[in-house]
Assembly symmetry: C2
Homo-oligomer: 593 residues x 2
């Protein structure tokens, strides 16, 4: 093994930068030491296969499968909120087809933390694949609320950091990490092939609000024993330096609150319990009572208080019915809606559409959250509306009222150096984050050929200290719409996208159900296309074109309804494109009469 | 006048901050000096009315009207690109209804600079309101290209900075300002009521690429003589400090280019001639030839070179046909498409869909432009695709490859202090920018009641050194779609928005054209709604509901087609909402048979 590593390092160390060569040799030297230790993994019989069903190539729907022999475990099962080009979809979850084929191997599901993009798909997953769930207390607390809503039962097993869970050939240790939700963990997943460190979402916060720092000692212990692969959080890889501590927000709020004369509304993510703690503490210090608003905010605060993660005294909290009786400068509302979501409480307040809560000049609104990419417009609109109400608005682009929960470059490099993995695989990011994170790994000296890159569906195969990516399995997205799952599939979604672009034109033809003869139409009805009253002549031309096209068809052809639809569609699409450069959806409707 | 000002200042100087009081007094003292000078405006007979047809409350469609007696001038006439909730619209222009009512008063249109949001609506405006246009050479050069495209004639009058133009009661001096397009100007608009400074878009760049600094001397001259009102650019009011110089980008590119081993593609806004100049210079210095790409890039570069604004030697430029023969490290392409616009050259290159230009590992793409709000997703996708092609990507969030063209807070305050206006009116911004800019004006000491705030349509009325906003006129947006103007009006647009959300359901009823009796249907056809093959039972239920609802109608009711449509619509909308929480568009189609 030593010779291999030296050889490979030598081959690749004549790389682009001189520094890289030195770094590689230093790295190799360190690893050489590790392989001599007695905890080296015994030669195993089976490969360890790791495949992402979601999360590699997008930020959301995180779901990673680890397979060894007859045992399979999943790490996380999250959801994602739809793009603008997925109209009418409520959310997106991973396609579990691959899992379906090997459902009997599923030993358990491990959760890193309680964010929607890590646990949101579980209600759907568990309906079909009931399996024991392992996670920290708050993570399971947040999950329980969802399961209740979907009326799904589950076998929930709470763990503490540094607990180890055995699932078939796997032993998994939970390792405390700091993040923007309390009780987050990384996982050290041991199989006969070796130990894989799966970081989950993390940062290195040296002054976390609850005092629970990222457990570097445990990571270092694994690093000393030998880590086969590190799978690490790529979200903030574009940011240099370190991510600021969560406590910094509390300080910024402490400076800000005393300057506010009227009511204060703080919008935050309901899962960010530390943020809520800080706001509550600053509110108390400024003589303000706290009003909670938003279903998930109230739910998460309740769970967190029950489990002892959030300390807010009962007399600090107020009910909305007390609101009219409390002086404005004694009110601090903590609410959801920071992304400008339509119909959220904050949006309605901003539009002056909320029955009980009105904003006045002198009130302050603090958006203590990040601009999730894609939401810039709705947040911008929200801010404009808040200003129209006369409020003052603070948000991350003008005040230090939010910090990220993900590690920046220096922390990511530290994680690599402390775990000293043989292989590196970036996770939790869009394609560019994965590419950049891989480059970062090469910078600290992990040899290029061991810095892997995989996207959803690509199976990373580890066997006897080698790794390869040779196989791709079926993965995809399932759209959840209204009360169903998969009710709105790719086909329907394409229709909708088409509709919104260029409107639609219906072509109604009536056919004699006995003779097959065309006896009615073509009648043309349009929506979202041209003004009907101004374009009768134009539609008349379109009708003529269809009649002509159908006249030329043979009898057999006419009998085939699908063929007729095709002809009508083609004829009109060409016509519209040529004459007015539009591409409305053409919908032939053939009625048997 | 002196007494008035002192009195007002005294009343308002007991304001929120002690510093404000001093500032107000200092300000008043300076103004007092100004009013004693001989250039004080003579008492006039008419009010000066200023109203925005666009640009106050949004970033885009800038168009400001100045009216005095029988004379009317317009400053700029821009367009805006559509939101996600304006599907199928190509762009948006101001509604000129108000102008239509007083078209005979229009003496001329003055242009501050050549950006789309200041000149884009002119082809449409000029078709209906031919009026002489005044602007600098490059501004008119860019405009000429558009007019040619739309086949619109115009009376174009090029001016130089410090030229004065007389239009009826108005004398307008053009004042050089620095911005992200060359040849931008502010306007000093004099009428018998006084002088109004209209800044247009500006920054104070102390090292502009062409050496043409913002002409502070002229602004100061007006300040000394007495300025009635300052209308100033609010875009960057949320940014503290100063905006970095354009030259800084050139330095960043100089550092970056030598490190690039393969081809370099720089995406930039075609109107940013200085940016193009710097890229070309750095390319030349690195031994690279320049390939221009994108219709507007090629057009604007041609105009700028012709007018002498851009200096690129012919042998620096290459043709796309030479591309295969030139070593990769000698190529620098300058292209449009920085916003990830679908079908743009850069998007196609990123998707590996461009016939002549392929990216390889080692190539570098520099997005030397800003993230226009609303485009974060498309730009993000673009970057991911570029990484998939193996390219390295630099953009404003990770490199210093772009700077803003708009003044930050310190420059905005300087403009106020140097023009010392009696009144302040923020322009060119969303609502929150206008609010914050007004507050900034109060900070430098302009008395609160003279810091005005208006949105589109609100008429600011100046008369004998007083100002009031008492009237609102009709303004709005017109949607340009395909080849027409206003072809897609509000009605049609609402249809489209509706369609994209929840799909649509057609209900087809056949009625005997002689007896009025219902003889066919209801046939239900859906698109973008539910899978047809899985939901026949459901649609059957829907059909039954409609039959029941129609059975109960009286004969006279049935004769009224509109009433029938209403009933059908209501019945089904309620049904869908209740049963599956969906709101598809319901389209009753009644066929006479």
């Amino acid at each position: 093994m030593n010779a291999d590593r030296e050889e490979i390092a030598a081959v690749y160390s004549g790389g682009e930068q001189g520094g890289k060569e030195e770094a590689t040799q230093a790295y190799t030297a360190v690893r050489r030491g590790a392989s001599d230790e007695t905890n080296a993994a015994p030669r195993s019989n089976s490969p360890l296969r790791i495949v992402a069903l979601g999360g590699l190539g997008e930020i959301g729907i995180n779901c990673m499968a680890y397979e060894y022999g007859d045992d399979l475990i999943l790490v996380d099962a999250g959801l994602m909120f739809p793009d603008a080009d997925m109209p009418g979809v409520d959310y997106v979850i991973p396609d579990f087809s691959w899992l379906r084929e090997r459902a009997d191997k599923l030993r358990g599901i491990l959760l890193t933390h309680g964010h929607e993009d890590h646990i949101g798909a579980l209600p759907f997953l568990l309906r079909e694949f009931p399996a024991p769930i392992y996670g920290t207390a708050l993570t399971l607390g947040i999950l329980e609320g969802k399961l209740l809503e979907y009326k799904v039962e589950a076998d929930l097993n709470p763990v503490k950091p540094r607990d180890t869970v055995t699932l078939g050939s796997f032993q998994v240790e939970f390792i405390r990490v700091a993040h923007s939700v309390v009780d987050g963990c990384a996982l050290a997943i041991r199989s006969p092939e070796g130990v894989v460190i799966h970081t989950g979402d993390f940062k290195l916060d040296q002054t976390p609000v609850d005092g629970e720092v990222t457990d570097l000692a445990t990571f270092a212990r694994y690093g000393d024993q030998g880590v086969l692969a590190l799978l690490s959080d790529s979200t903030n890889v574009e940011r240099e330096g370190y991510t600021i501590s969560e406590r910094y927000v509390g300080e910024a709020l402490s400076d800000l609150f005393p300057k506010c004369k009227g009511r204060i509304i703080v919008a935050a993510f309901s899962s960010n319990i530390h943020r809520v703690q800080q706001v509550a503490d600053v509110a108390a210090a400024s003589g303000r009572k706290v009003l909670l608003n938003g279903r998930s905010m109230i739910a998460n605060v309740r769970i967190a208080r029950q489990l002892g993660y959030l300390k807010i005294s009962d007399d600090l909290l107020m009910d909305i019915r007390e609101l009219p009786h409390i002086p404005r400068e004694q009110v601090c509302m903590i609410t959801t809606g920071s992304q400008g979501e339509p119909l959220s409480a904050l949006s309605r307040i901003a539009m002056d559409d909320h029955k009980q809560i009105k904003l006045e000049k002198g009130d302050t609104v603090i958006l203590s959250s990040r601009y999730i990419p894609g939401n810039e417009r709705t947040i911008s609109e929200l801010i404009n509306h808040l200003y129209r109400r006369g409020a003052d608005v603070h948000h991350e682009k003008v005040s230090e009222v939010h910090v990220s929960g993900h590690a920046s470059q220096e922390e990511l490099k530290l994680m690599m150096n402390i775990t000293r993995p043989r292989f590196f695989l970036p996770i939790h990011g869009e394609y560019r984050h994965l590419v950049l994170h891989r480059r970062l790994a090469m910078k600290v000296g992990i040899p290029e050929e061991r810095c892997l890159l995989a996207i959803n569906g690509e199976v990373v195969n580890f066997y006897n200290e080698t790794a390869c990516i040779e196989e791709t399995v079926e993965t995809g997205r399932v759209f959840v719409d209204g009360k169903g799952v998969g009710d709105v599939g790719e086909v329907v979604l394409k229709d909708r996208r088409h509709l919104s672009e260029d409107g639609m034109v219906l072509v109604i033809l009536g056919v004699n159900q006995h003779t097959g003869e065309f006896i009615y139409g073509p009648e043309i009805v349009s929506r979202g296309f041209v003004f009907e009253d101004e374009s009768q002549a134009y539609l008349q031309t379109a009708r003529e074109m269809v009649r002509e096209a159908l006249k030329e068809l043979s009898v057999e052809f006419l009998a085939d309804r699908d063929e007729v639809r095709q002809i009508v569609r083609q004829t009109l699409k060409r016509f519209f494109k040529k004459s007015i450069e539009r591409r409305p959806m053409v919908l032939p409707v053939i009625l048997e009469m």
